[in-house]
């Protein structure tokens, strides 16, 4: 074990890996700070480059972007009241109020510290839980695995946007997209509609970039065209000018103030870690639930919504605490519980590693190096955040009008470069169009990606179970573990539905 830790640490702390972590955090914070761009989008765009990097370096870059993006979203939320990422929406409630009251530095520092604490807590839970869970998962047979896949799909469908029917529908569409190509058992070609280029199935990269990046970029383009951002940018410039006359020396976060936010930070860390581990629940839900709970247990609940540092700490900690735990289902069972985990799962696949219980046993060194990188990236986030905080508010003022076209072009060329495949570019544009259509009809996109990624595994488990049961569907509910998964899925949906109703 000691040898393994030494080898993994040598891999994780290689100078090139450290450089990629720094680069990733810097890129993540920068993109997260610009409204409309997010860490997820950056990860999707960088997937084609994963081919050309060593696994540890690629992981360092992606982890850096992810963690930087989580904190970056809070910069524009606090500075201008515009959340850079959806997860930072709760942070903007108190963060922007604190800024209007002349406390932007305190607010940004509170967000930074609580983000790092929440994130580190979540990473530690991942490190200590993923390994034993993966060991349990190795004992599962196809019936249990099918139940687990169904559990994840039901949960992600129900929790993505609170609309179970639409979530299930897009998960089914994702599964259907995964079925395109050659049937792994009979070898027959399915659902290609006579297009020979589809016989090999749809590649991960164009589908993920199309669904996540292209659809979002086109919507941002639509907003730009309508000059909505014009007004926003005027507001941003106006708000920035308000900062000109203020004295930063009077706006330092004191030790007493930091201590007063710790309870809220811990609440956020606990809630975020729990929510992050559930497939589909997401950062926004974690942030808002943390915020609500912190207000309930606060000694000064009346200050929430008026620039409370506790409010910022709970929301930001809750948001960032999903970072580590969202990988638990991916590492233990091969099920990506969030869009980010799906992107990391795709990166693992591109590097020749299969997400799931065997991921840890087959790639122990890399995964332990990744654990080190996760913790190290938090330190980098803290240091870079602390050093560059005064400049980050200005980063948020970069006009998306110049960024969006560049991102769009990078998505197209990057997709082609991954496999030198023209078909991949057409699939990318089709996936983008599909994402746009689904967004227009208010369908959540995360279940589609989950369905696409776990579709082949779910099909394999279903067909193996059916063979074991002699074609009888009842075989799927003959295992106590499988029944447990189905009951747990419905119990969790019921719990969250009741919690959301109580909130309304």
């Amino acid at each position: 074990m000691l040898d393994l830790i030494i080898q993994a640490s040598q891999l994780a702390f290689h100078p090139y890996v450290l450089m990629y972590v720094f680069l990733g955090v810097l890129l993540g914070i920068t993109l997260g700070a610009i409204p409309g761009l997010s860490g997820d989008m950056a990860i999707a765009l960088l997937l084609p480059f994963v081919f050309f990097l060593e696994p540890a370096m690629a992981m360092g870059l992606l982890v850096g972007i992810y963690k930087g993006g989580l904190f970056g979203g809070s910069i524009s939320a606090i500075s201008f009241g515009v959340p850079g990422t959806p997860g930072a929406a709760a942070t903007s409630i108190d963060g922007y109020q604190a800024k209007l009251k002349g406390k932007p530095s305190k607010a940004l520092h509170t967000a930074l510290y609580s983000s790092v604490i929440g994130d580190t807590t979540s990473d530690l839970v991942l490190i200590f839980i993923a390994v034993p869970l993966a060991a349990i998962a190795l004992t599962f047979g196809p019936i249990e695995f099918f139940a687990l896949y169904a559990f994840s799909l039901i949960l992600i469908a129900a929790l993505s946007q609170g609309m179970v029917a639409k979530g299930l529908a897009v998960a089914a569409i994702g599964i259907l997209l995964a079925m395109i190509g050659r049937d792994p058992i009979t070898g027959a070609v399915r659902l290609t509609f006579g297009i020979p280029g589809l016989a090999g199935g749809l590649s991960l990269i164009p589908v993920l970039i199309g669904i996540f990046a292209i659809s979002e970029v086109v919507f941002q383009g639509a907003k730009l065209w309508r000059r909505k951002v014009d007004k926003l940018m005027d507001d941003v410039a106006e708000q920035a000018s308000l900062l000109q006359g203020y004295d930063i020396s009077k706006d330092q976060l004191t030790w007493a103030e930091f201590k007063s936010t710790l309870k809220a930070t811990y609440i956020g860390a606990a809630v975020g870690t729990f929510i992050g581990a559930l497939p589909g629940a997401g950062q926004s839900l974690a942030a808002f639930m943390s915020y609500g709970l912190a207000q309930r247990f606060s000694k000064r609940p009346e200050e929430f919504g008026k620039g409370s540092l506790e409010g910022i700490a709970s929301a930001e900690s809750g948001n960032s605490a999903t970072a580590g735990s969202t990988f638990i289902p991916l590492f233990a069972f091969g099920i990506p519980g969030s869009a980010t985990a799906a992107l990391f799962g795709a990166a693992f696949i591109l590097m020749g590693m299969t997400p799931g219980p065997s991921l840890l046993s087959d790639n122990t060194e890399i995964i332990y190096a990744l654990f080190f990188t996760l913790i190290f990236a938090n330190l980098v986030n803290l240091v870079l955040g602390k050093l560059l905080l005064p400049y980050y508010s200005r980063i948020a003022m970069i006009q998306p009008g110049y960024m969006i076209p560049a991102v769009f072009i990078l998505a197209i060329v990057g997709t082609y470069a991954a496999n030198n495949s023209t078909m991949d570019v057409w699939v990318l544009l089709f996936a983008g169009l599909l994402g746009i259509t689904l967004k227009l009809l208010s369908f959540p996109l995360a279940p589609l990606v989950l369905g696409f990624i776990i579709g082949p595994g779910a099909e394999r488990a279903l067909r193996q179970s059916m063979i074991m049961g002699g074609g009888d569907w009842w075989v799927l509910v003959k295992s106590p573990i499988a029944i447990g998964f189905y009951i747990a899925a419905f119990a969790l949906i019921l719990l969250f539905t009741l919690a959301l109703r109580a909130k309304k």
């Binding site: 569409i173 070898g187 076209p405």
Partner: protein
């Protein structure tokens, strides 16, 4: 009919059509037979889910209509999209992307990238001036060339230009 209702009805129609069309395809299509586990077993399950989801959405619409709370049909934080703006953006970006990629294959990566970027900036960027349209696209072209040609050595058909 309000906007949310139209959107939900459209969503139900799309989901139901896809599910029913899929089941018809399974009935009439040429699927390779396999004992116990035919090729269509998973797609068929997905189509059943699509139909069930479509019925569920229609049921929800009916329930909300009876309670006269159709406005509550929209998911929380649902964004109202400007359809004309989205249409323009799709036309400029997605249709433009088809021509851009064909140009990349036939004319050349750098020239096509600079031109397409200039068009996108000119059409989409608020406050875009002639100066920025002249400066930003060549920079993007340079970045693309450095990243994809120099750094990762992407191979493209020999272009007409550079």
């Amino acid at each position: 009919m309000n906007h949310t209702l139209i959107k939900e009805l459209l969503a139900a129609a799309v989901v139901l059509s896809l599910g029913i069309a899929g089941l018809i395809h399974i009935q009439l299509g040429a699927w390779r037979p396999a004992p116990l586990v035919p090729s269509y077993i998973m797609p068929q399950t997905a189509y059943y889910f699509l139909i069930a989801s479509g019925v569920w959405i229609l049921g929800a619409i009916g329930l909300f209509a009876i309670r006269k709370r159709l406005a509550n049909l929209a998911p929380p934080n649902a964004e109202q999209h400007d359809l004309i703006a989205v249409g323009v953006s799709v036309s400029v970006m997605l249709i433009g992307a088809v021509f851009y990629f064909l140009a990349v294959l036939n004319i050349g990566l750098v020239v096509s990238t600079v031109l397409f970027n200039a068009i996108l900036v000119a059409v989409l960027a608020p406050n875009a001036s002639l100066k920025t349209v002249l400066i930003v696209p060549p920079l993007v072209g340079l970045v693309v060339w450095l990243l994809f040609i120099k750094l990762i050595g992407m191979t493209l058909p020999t272009p007409l230009l550079f």
